[in-house]
Amino acid sequence: TRERFRETFDAINERFQVLYPRLVGGGRGFLRLTDENDLLETGIDLIVQPPGKRLQNMTLMSGGEKAMAAIALIFAIFLVKPSPFCLLDEVDAPLDEANAVRFNEMVREMSGHTQFLVITHNKSTMEVADTLYGVTMEEPGVSRLVSVRLEGGTAPVGPGGSEVD
């Protein structure tokens, strides 16, 4: 319904305008309907201004800048329609160190209310984890859980993935 779309759009837009600057360390961003008069068909534009740069449409932006805007949008929608857990598969792949650090800080903040499971190749993301699960394929084609590192130590894992004392 038009009502519900408008309400949801406004709620997401509100969150996005707070999250985007926090995620990229400044600047501003907002969503804009391509057609205010046709709520059933309108598209949605993403307009952002990275810190110190000029306001622009997404197209000219860099790979990492686009990813940060998309992540801010995903988190904005997630906070409007929360779930007890959030699974992220390599969303930090295009991010440089500064952006990855801010991304991880936001995940830490949100982890107070949400259970996060994050898949990553990024060293700085691994560092903010409370528990680290290492998966390998020593035998090709067969996955195994080989280590669980809890804050402060690594617990070797026996067959079947259960911790070994």
């Binding site: 309108t42 949605i44 779930s83 992220l88 259970q115 898949i119 528990t131 998966v135 394929m137 084609g141």
Partner: protein, 168 residues
């Protein structure tokens, strides 16, 4: 409502029964390319009742059963179980008073399918209705698959409206 534990056996590359025990805070899964990390995400989606094989990178649902390697034959069964902490009673209905609820799904190569809640055989709809109003599900923004950020980045304005519609 947290996931306390996931058990994966015969699902995709997890030929051996593998248990992920979750604690407090942020969990991170790491490992080389192709070792099975995204398969864990697929296992969770599948355990929650995903019916579309393409949402699991497969072409038919049978694709999720361990298909063998150079040195090991295929298995005949895929199984995923998830144990939820239900301290807040968010998982309602007859389970509202239970401190933990376990859902388990099996798929046999014959095509036979099983769903169990706390060991009791149930229908798929009972699994999905268990999660009604909890925000848990295979759609929405609680599961961001590998490459999804790229899709959102490249979406045209008309496609992006879908993101809002799903949340509405």
């Amino acid at each position: 409502m947290r996931i306390d534990r996931i058990e994966i056996h015969g699902f995709k590359s997890f030929a051996e029964r593998t248990v992920f025990q979750f604690g407090q805070g942020v969990s991170c899964v790491v490992g080389p390319n192709g070792c099975g990390k995204s398969n864990v995400i697929d296992a969770i989606k599948w355990g929650l009742g995903e019916q579309n094989a393409r949402q699991l990178r497969g072409r038919a649902m049978e694709d999720v059963i361990f298909g063998g390697s150079e040195s090991r034959p295929a298995t005949g069964l895929a199984e995923v179980a998830m144990l939820f902490d239900n301290g807040e009673g968010l998982l309602g209905g007859e389970y509202a008073r239970l401190p933990q609820v376990e859902i388990r799904r099996r798929l046999f190569r014959s095509g036979e399918s099983e769903y169990l809640i706390n060991g009791e055989p149930v229908r798929l709809r009972e699994v999905t209705s268990l999660f009604l109003d909890t925000g848990v599900g295979t759609r929405g923004y609680s599961i961001i698959e590998q490459g999804r950020v790229g899709l959102i980045v490249n979406a045209r304005p008309e496609e992006r409206r879908f993101l809002v519609e799903e949340a509405a």
